[in-house]
Symmetry: C2
Subunit: 74 residues, 2 copies
């Protein structure tokens, strides 16, 4: 796993979630993902699969490619 990439993605996700006014608990509830898993994603400890990327994008109300697009590396 590319840790730097996961960390960048986590930051993007967190910013989007906060922009939406959602807590981790609320995003977890809306997406049927575990709150602990969302916390790990935001800290870059886990990285999402394709389907999780789609679920999260919907959860924070953005286009499916936005989270990937905003994850800049280097």
């Amino acid at each position: 796993m590319d840790e730097r990439l996961a960390k960048r993605f986590g930051k993007v996700l967190k910013l989007r979630r906060i922009d939406c006014g959602l807590s981790q608990e609320e995003l977890a509830f809306n997406t049927d993902l575990h709150r602990t898993y969302i916390s790990m994603l935001e800290r870059g400890i886990r990285q999402p699969s394709l389907s999780t990327i789609f679920i999260l994008a919907e959860g924070v109300g953005c286009e499916r490619e936005s989270l990937v697009k905003d994850t800049r590396v280097g």
Copy 2:
């Protein structure tokens, strides 16, 4: 795993790879991924993680978000 999503992604990947004039073997070599894994991705049997999405996008010479953007569901 969302099978339909994985199948759509696989089709997008395959089209891009063929557009680039690459065989599965060549894409595997360029990306350091296993040819069998690329075959499974293209058939929608496996779905990629975030870092694999980045690696594949680079391997087929497109923007990091393109493969996700082109994966339309429904």
